[in-house]
Amino acid sequence: MTPAISLKGIGKKYRIASSKSLHLRELLSFGKKQHTQDFWALQDIDLEVEQGTTLGILGRNGAGKSTMLQIISGVLQPTTGTVTVNGRLTAIFGLGSGFNPEFTGRENAMMNGLILGMDRHEMLERFEEIEAFADIGDFMDRPVKTYSSGMKSRLGFAVAVNVNPDILVIDEALSAGDASFKKRALQRMYDLRDSGTTVLFVSHSMGMINRFCTDAVLLHRGHMISRGTPEEVVGQYRDVLEKSQNKEPDKNTERDRQLDYTIAHEDEDDMPDLPKGKRGQRRPTGEAEILDVELLDEDQHQAHRVPAGSNLTVRVRARYAQAVEESAFGAVLRDRAGTLLFANSTDMEESSLGPREKNEVVTVDFTFGVPYHPGEYGVEATVSGDAGRLLGRTGEAITFAVVAEELAAGAVSQPPSRVEVHDSEELGPAT
């Protein structure tokens, strides 16, 4: 397979002078006076990125991360070396940067999509999706000057990720927006990653790099000083940071360790896959493993978009890694802000699962009426044991979208929920 991105001997030189007139003075002195300096923002970068890789790029401020991304995306020309890119590349350097405040969100979204290389008819097809993702309601048809900065980034991100790139380049674009938007943005990035998109990602958040990336590189003063797994590279990055802090006397005080911890974990609350605050205590024991979670519509077809007010079945399949006396399956539905909307479990419905053998596979269907409010929702599934011990859980929320459809008059209440337990042998083909 050809690599998605290949860099050979890339270097980028800048001439630095404090003002343009110094350039002129240097020219007029015929080389007698030196007012400018050469500065290599990048030097000798060789890098191959395989398709489907999620590459995290670490480095201190000014290490050359953004320059590298700009060269890869073709915005900047390298001074030396060659760049080869295979596939459609979308780069996000700051969200909504091309928006014109006098024009409506809809007009700007269209422009932005065209700027990012989409065709007009492609854009028209995806408009509904973009609108749903941005979720800014009526503001879509109002001038962008009336938007809050969060709305602007939401719309910008919605357009950028709906371009369906083969290669997505993100330069800290996610630092904007509130927690709920961040979460959705991350969720979308996970989706892109899982669908095989090559993602290049700059972040100062080591936790993010660790969890999200399959691969990482470390830049230091324009040189690529390491490449490897995120854990290794994050470790080296810590060393680099520590070295630069060594001159400061108060190293390793209690306060310092606290700060380090905060920095390393700053964005964990925004992760889409785990409920807030409970991360420490709620790590699953691993006694059960959730194999997959399927979303089925009323016709028992797999669905990720369902009409408002219809019934959705969440089919959870899990295997016991050890024999268990008593256990319960649970499913929760959250909106994109992480608010719990609905929860159900086998013990709430008094369908006992009974003792289970090692390696036994059990399937449970949770059926419930989806909310009437259109938008994106997430489902998480758990298997818990006696005394509320968490045996296993889904790694990340399974998302689906509710799309508006005309309601029958008076249909305001949600249909009752239902839980059915199957052993996996009983599970025939979906009818």
């Binding site: 060269i71 915005v75 020309q77 890119v85 780069a91 940067s97 091309g98 006098e102 024009f103 065209l114």
Partner: protein, 281 residues
Amino acid sequence: MATYTSSDKQSIAGEFFDALGTFYRKRWLLGYFIHRQVTRSYRGSYLGIVWAILGPLVWVFFLALIFSNVLDIKNRTVQGDPTLNFGLFLYCGLLPFLTFSEALNKGINSIRSNSGLVQKVVFPLEILPFTNAIASMVDKVFGFGALLIMLLLFGRTLHPTLLYMPVIVVLQVIFILGLTYIMAVLGTFLPDVAEVMRPVIRGMFFVTPILWPAGLLPENLSWIENYNPLAYLVNAYRDLILNGTLPGALSTLYFTLFSVALFIFGFALFVRLGPKFADHL
């Protein structure tokens, strides 16, 4: 398009035609850009796009009014046409001059004022000056409409030579595009050019027969008019719109050749240097 390598060095001609093709491939983007540019100044006003025609109409109306009823200055001595209003004569010459001055002013800034796009998105930069040039032409089409309305109000017949206007407009577009691309390159690399061009544009206003009729200059100064492409445009506008005559064939040929050469030079320069723009913003 999906795959690119930075070391693919094309010939200038290859780059040139490749970039010309972008205009077709990106026609929607171009359309939206031009639309945005044309409607931008009217956005947020109560009358909206109506101002595009109302603005020039008010202006040409005042020009015509000032030079007829109020000051009673007419044009009879210089143009041999006793009914011609000097306001209309002036406005007819102003139209091509304004596209020229806007091409220079906006062209210089066309890259700098879009630094967000240039530095942050992979973007066909040749669209930016093109948008400026076409938008300013579209704007003048409304001005042209206003002029025709005023001519009718003043009881003048519209000459059949008006049908040749599209030809002149096409030549003018080529001329304006060439200028805009050159200015875009200069303005990006040398910000000082903006300061230089301001007096140059003012000077051009006076050495072009806008305030004064063509052929007024003495023999030894007639080169000012003869070698001024802008003078050709102004005279052609007045010939076709006001006098009902055709501009000279030879001067039209010269202007065409000059405009095409200017465009080829400007566009090739732009395409060649475009990739370096992001470093200079």
